[in-house]
């Protein structure tokens, strides 16, 4: 198993290498002089010229590439024109907000979607099954930003239950001392339940919006996988023995259905990272997605490239974790 995991790790590193090549190409495909964007604010002629030299723009493409790699290794992603800070600093500061949102959404989607899919498979063609299928089909069709707006309208504008979409905390509350950057975790660590509640309150609607996008594919995948497994020969054997319903369902059936569902989670995470950007815009959430959007509109490209690279690395990391989870869960993969 160890060698298999090592091989996956090596594979992931190879993909990271290709990703870096792609971001490099994107950087150099900019419509204007990259030096201007990477020089940052206060870009005097001398500063821009210095940046040109630093980026090696006067040399060949290959030299530029090595310059790029060296900069990356040093953590230099350029400077943002709009915030004036190094892109890496901005990203690190804002990343926890995005992660908190995405992970909450994924957790919520899994808690609702997996059992719903299982139940739909156990009682096929029941009203519940039909309901799950309809919701799943429609849910995948609604654009995330539209869901967010609808939820905001109903829960904020009409009912007044949800807070204004102004960020992670209302203007009256102060963020908890930073340990992980996750307000929910940090406030619990600090024992500050009031802040915890406030943070959760602000997080509720955006997380719900994002999770709605993920519930549909998760429920569908779980339902499909469970249906297939429940019709399999080995479940028939289990019924013939007979093993208890609970054992058949949760150990024999779900254990096997979990494998394709894990793969679906990886795919869903790709959608979530993308949809994250849209949700951050709708709710004014101060994560890396809104950072990138603001930069885009201001024609500030260094943050955008840094954002794309960071997202890719996050995604590769997650896929690696899922690959490892599958290797651990499925004994048939060992030895390959």
């Amino acid at each position: 198993m160890g060698s298999l995991i090592a091989r996956r790790l090596a594979g992931a590193l190879a993909v990271v290498a290709s990703v870096i090549v792609v971001t490099f190409v994107l950087t150099r495909a900019l419509p204007a002089d990259p030096a201007v964007y990477f020089a940052g604010l206060g870009g005097t002629k001398e500063a821009i010229a210095a940046m040109r030299a630093k980026l090696g723009l006067d040399h060949g493409l290959l030299t530029q590439f090595f310059v790029y790699i060296r900069a990356l290794a040093a953590g230099d992603l350029g400077h943002s024109l709009t915030t004036g800070h190094p892109v890496l600093d901005d990203l690190t500061r804002r990343l926890p907000a995005s992660l908190e949102l995405t992970i909450s959404a994924l957790a919520l989607a899994a808690i609702v979607g997996l059992p719903a899919g299982m139940a739909a498979a156990v009682w096929p063609n029941s009203w519940f099954d039909h309901l799950v299928r309809v919701i799943a089909t429609v849910g995948v069709a609604i654009p995330t930003f539209f869901t967010g707006l609808m939820l905001l309208h109903v829960f904020y504008f009409d009912l007044g239950w949800a807070p204004a979409p102004l960020g992670r905390l209302s203007s009256f509350a102060a963020p908890p001392p930073r340990v992980s950057g996750f307000y929910l975790i940090d406030s619990l660590l600090a024992g500050d339940l009031a802040t915890f509640a406030a943070a959760a309150f602000q997080l509720a609607l955006p997380a719900l919006t994002l999770s709605l996008f993920a519930v549909a594919p998760l429920a569908r995948a779980t339902r499909a996988a469970m249906l297939e497994v429940l019709a399999s020969d080995f479940v028939r054997t289990a019924r013939a023995i007979p093993l208890s319903r609970a054992k058949i369902l949760f150990v024999y059936a779900f254990g096997n259905a979990l494998l394709p569902v894990l793969t679906t989670i990886g795919m869903v995470f790709s959608f979530l990272l993308g949809a994250n950007v849209l949700v951050e815009k709708v709710f004014g959430w101060p994560g890396i997605g809104s950072y990138a959007i603001d930069a885009l509109i201001a024609a500030d490209y260094a943050p955008v490239q840094g954002f794309v690279l960071l997202m890719a690395i996050l995604y590769i990391l997650l896929n690696l974790l899922i690959d490892i989870a599958v290797i651990v869960a499925d004994p048939r993969t060992v030895g390959a």
């Binding site: 096929p124 020969d233 080995f234 054997t237 013939a240 007979p242 869960a329 048939r332 060992v334 030895g335």
Partner: protein, 569 residues
């Protein structure tokens, strides 16, 4: 054995009817089926596909699929009426079942021992440790070597035979008084088949367990069962003592089934008049032929699995699999030679080499003196010999393009390779071929999924003989057909061979089938030809120990033998 009063039947089925909902509406799978099983007896249920034998078994066990509806009828076990709509807790204590395709019947990601423990604890109040100990014991009782080690094996690490033994252990854990075995040996090698059935019979005797053996193989059933029930189309056509059925079958269906079953002991060969004299030069000369496969690419699991199947007991990973190992033989024009081997023997690889679908790693293949092995397989489609060497495939469904009509399938080789004489239009040629193979002209416009198994087989044969090849390789051409259809197709193949003076290379796992068609046979094992000779001789007086094993494993249902043994039972 005579007894004053017949013992109370253990299982009594009365007028059972089951319908299954399908796209065509409700289909009657079981119609008014009645039979009983006495304690300790072995009853055989014989039938072709669609006869309803498996659905009956599922109904008895209470695990019918959701789409099934039980109509009227009753099932009583040990005097208690069983619930027909499903399974209540504890109402089927004493019943157990094993299935076809044992590897699929085990949870692929759970060690075999743990599944056994689950079964044990479902029937007895055991602690986890006690159950584990019992499990290892049971694994030993079903003759699995190193049971303590095999406890932790996953199904993919076990051979088909071992998986079936594990399934039997699970069934035994249910403390059965009656064991239903639904096609327990179909898909297993003949030698493994015999071992498994021997095991079942031994266990039944040891435990006083009644057995219901469901199979399509009449020879197997009549060898092992004292009573037989013949099913067709959901009904029990005939049920009587085995001897009675074989000696005096009453129903026409039973008679046709008996006539169609290939038997290795009787001389049923279609090769009358003896073999043609071996004329020099040979049509096909194979010399030191080898074909290797690299397994690293396929992954360690495949290597381990192959190691198990081809060399049982060997758990080392093997890097290079030698599927065909130094094979040398000749085929004379007009000969009909069989190649017999179990799975993993390399027989299909050898067939693919001869037809030039794949390239040899070493050795020579000469056809009419020309070295056709030197022409790479990817160029073989347009080579000169292409029209002369053709193949009939095993699975008629898989070997027909699902989007081409029967007409197109048969016409294809003629379009691609045949010189069409101006005077004979294509349609005429295709119709003629269809007639030759007994395929109604109306069926030519149909797609494969609209044809029956036998009809698809005929299309495959028509296509193969379209260009009058001199050498026809047949790779298990009847393996997926029902036994009566198989008999008809084998007769057809024999007729065509005689009519067109073709040379046949007939690959099969079934010695009895080979006997009908081939006067000479070669036995293959682990890539090597271990024995070769006239079929009569190889079957009656084999030389090689492996051949002896193969021949001994063939179920025998000859009238003579059974009648001789009837009094002994």
């Amino acid at each position: 054995m005579n007894s004053i009063a017949a013992p109370q039947p253990l299982l009594e089925i009365e007028e059972l009817s089951v319908k299954i909902a399908s796209r065509r509406g409700m289909v009657a799978a079981v119609r008014d089926v009645s039979f009983s099983v006495a304690p300790g007896e072995i009853l055989g249920i014989v039938g072709e596909s669609g006869s309803g034998k498996s659905v009956t078994a599922l109904a008895v066990m209470g695990i019918l699929p959701a789409a099934a509806r039980v109509g009227h009828g009753s099932i009583r076990f040990a005097g208690r009426a069983l619930n027909l709509t499903g399974r209540r807790r504890g109402d089927r204590e004493g019943l157990a079942i094993i299935f076809q395709n044992p590897r699929a019947a085990l949870d692929p990601i759970r060690p075999v021992g743990r599944q056994l423990v689950d079964a044990l604890r479902a029937h007895s109040p055991l602690s986890a440790r006690q159950a584990a100990v019992s499990a290892v014991e049971l694994l030993g009782q079903v003759r699995i070597h190193e049971p303590a080690r095999r406890f932790w094996s996953y199904p993919f690490e076990l051979s088909g035979g071992m998986c079936q033994r594990a399934m039997i252990a699970i069934a035994l854990a249910c403390k059965p008084r009656l064991l239903i075995a639904d096609e327990p040996t179909t898909g297993l090698d003949v030698t493994t088949q015999k071992a498994i059935v021997d095991l079942l019979v031994a266990l039944a005797a040891e435990r006083g367990m009644a057995t219901v053996l469901i199979t399509h193989d009449l020879a197997l059933a009549s060898e092992r069962c004292s009573r037989l029930a013949v099913m067709q189309g959901g009904r029990v056509v005939e049920i009587a003592e085995t001897v009675e059925i074989l000696r005096q079958p009453r129903e026409p269906y039973t008679r046709s089934l008996i006539a169609a079953t290939p038997r290795a002991d009787e001389d049923t060969t279609t090769r009358t008049g003896g073999a043609p004299a071996a004329v020099a030069p040979p049509l096909l000369a194979v010399e030191s032929l080898c074909r290797d496969y690299r397994l690293r690419a396929a992954g360690g699991m495949a290597a381990r699995a192959w190691g198990q199947i081809s060399r049982p007991g060997n758990v080392r990973e093997i890097d290079i699999l030698r599927a065909v190992d130094n094979v040398t033989f000749d085929l004379s024009p007009g000969e009909s030679v069989g190649l017999v081997g179990e799975s993993g023997s390399g027989k299909s690889t050898l067939a693919a080499l001869i037809v030039r679908l794949i390239d040899p790693t070493a050795g020579r293949i000469r056809f009419r003196g020309e070295d056709i092995g030197a022409i790479p397989a990817r160029h073989a489609a347009r080579a000169a010999f292409r029209r002369e060497i053709q193949m009939v495939f095993q699975d008629p469904s898989a070997s027909l393009n699902s989007r081409h009509t029967a007409f197109d399938a048969i016409a294809e080789p003629i379009r691609r390779l045949g010189p069409l004489a101006r005077a004979r239009p294509l349609a005429g040629v295709v119709h003629e071929l269809a007639e030759m193979v007994g395929l109604a002209a109306a069926l030519l416009s149909r797609l494969p999924h609209q044809l029956s198994g036998g009809e698809k087989a005929r299309v495959g044969i028509a296509r193969a003989i379209a260009l009058r090849p001199s050498l026809l390789v047949l790779d298990e051409p009847t393996a997926s057909l029902d036994v009566r259809v198989q008999a008809v197709i084998l007769d057809l193949l024999a007729k065509l061979r005689d009519e067109f003076a073709m040379t046949y290379f007939f690959v099969s796992h079934d010695l009895a089938v080979v006997r009908r068609v081939c006067e000479r046979v070669m036995v293959m094992r682990s890539g090597q030809i271990v024995e070769s000779g006239m079929t009569e001789k190889v079957l009656t007086a084999p030389d090689h120990p492996y051949t002896k094993e193969l021949v001994a494993a063939i179920p025998r249902a000859a009238h003579r033998e059974l009648i001789q043994n009837a009094s002994a039972r």
